[in-house]
């Protein structure tokens, strides 16, 4: 069995070590790197991200992330965004009125959740569309979320979004073409998360 080469993009934000550990567990040849050539050449690129949208977007730009991700997607080469690594795929992020431009692969803005307790921290359920690659064979499982912002509307192809709810519905994952992303942390979601990682990896082979 081949072990697909996966690069966890190390642009300074996100728990890259945990992402690498979970990918190794499900059989990837996973490395942590910020090298543009590696990021382009690998079978799959993981874009993690924690903290503020503005900081992550700036970090990603400084590491040529938008160009690398754009080139990969144009060539149909898989990219997986995690948490803020998902959020930056949208048009923009709005943090207390500070609007930061995202990569704009997906339409719409990332805005603050409305709930009595924030961040949304813990294990929540999701509703995946039929035919989802990421959630194939994954039953009624919970996934680990830590975030205060999310895409609360989906303007992409119907049936490409997985939804969750915390003070209102938000996009918990999305899959269009070569781009997949999760608002939750699959690398921290126990066996259910490893199944999602394994599904993404299986599609790279």
């Amino acid at each position: 069995m081949t072990r697909p080469r996966v690069v966890v993009f190390d642009y300074g934000f996100g728990n890259v070590r945990s992402a690498q550990n979970s990918l190794l567990r499900v059989g990837a040849d996973a490395v942590i790197s910020a090298d543009p050539a590696e990021a382009l050449a690998c079978a799959g690129l993981v874009v993690p991200g924690v903290g503020a949208f503005a900081a992550c977007a700036a970090g990603l730009r400084a590491a040529s992330g938008p160009r690398l991700i754009g080139e990969r997607l144009a060539g149909g080469r898989p990219v997986l965004g995690i948490c803020v690594g998902m959020q930056v795929m949208f048009d923009a992020g709005d943090e207390h009125g500070l609007v930061t431009e995202g990569l704009g692969v997906w339409r719409g803005d990332v805005t603050r959740l409305t709930a009595p307790v924030l961040p949304h921290m813990g294990w929540n359920t999701v509703i995946a569309p039929p035919g989802s690659t990421l959630f194939a064979g994954v039953g009624d499982e919970r996934f680990y979320f830590v975030h205060s912002y999310a895409a609360r509307a989906w303007d992409g192809p119907p049936g490409a979004a997985t939804w969750s709810d915390y003070g209102g519905p938000f996009v918990a994952a999305a899959e269009t073409g070569a781009l997949a992303a999760t608002q939750f942390h699959p690398e921290k979601s126990g066996d259910a998360g490893l199944s999602v990682m394994a599904n993404w990896l299986a599609a790279l082979r």
Partner: protein, 269 residues
Amino acid sequence: MRGSSVPPSGPAYPGRVSLAVRVIPCLDVDDGRVVKGVNFVDLRDAGDPVALAAHYSSSGADELVFLDISASHSGRSTMVEVVRRTAEQVFIPLTVGGGVRAIEDFDMLLRAGADKVGVNTAAIARPVLLAEAATRFGSQCVVLSVDARRSADQPSGFEVTTHGGRKSAGLDALDWVRRAEDLGAGEILLNSMDADGTTAGFDLAMIRAVRAVTSLPLIASGGAGEPEHFAPAVAAGADAVLAASVFHFAATSIGAVKQTMSAAGVPVR
């Protein structure tokens, strides 16, 4: 057709999506070894934090907390190694606290694979540490640990303590929680020094008081002795419940606690 798609709806939807209350075992680690370790049947070495973490993860723990109680400098570097090895094998969130003094400690622990870092005394000494850590690493990984007890000296009736409850920090506990939230803490770990060690149940009055002043996720700690103790802490306002000895001494299990919580109507994983 492209258009703004809406989330799935219908009678089955609302009830199916809800955040679970987290059940979190805490391990005291001294120089790389679990203090008060127990012999679970499937564990060869009850003192190994990595093995115990894996055991708890497979038993349904929603998160783990390592509390480093090492006095020595070498103990701290040992802890980083323990975190690194745990993160290789255990795929649930890990919070590490104890002896965190500076931004460099956050950096070292997060790089090793911790998801959150708990800070207590150092934030009391220099509150801006919370802001610095939140700016650099994000609020989501900054856990303020508060050891509180009743005191007539403070307006709210609750004061902050240090040194395991032996010394007063001279701070009102509710004021401190409010201030920590403003500075950028992402979660509050509230340990009642009045309830701690009693195994008579969580400190519901203290949980209610803190819940009323913060919109951050609140982890309740101190006093758990049996599975029936956990649901009332949630009713009082806790988003997560933490316990140590009640799990370690196999007085009860994560599964039994979750079953009892679920029977009381609390959503669990």
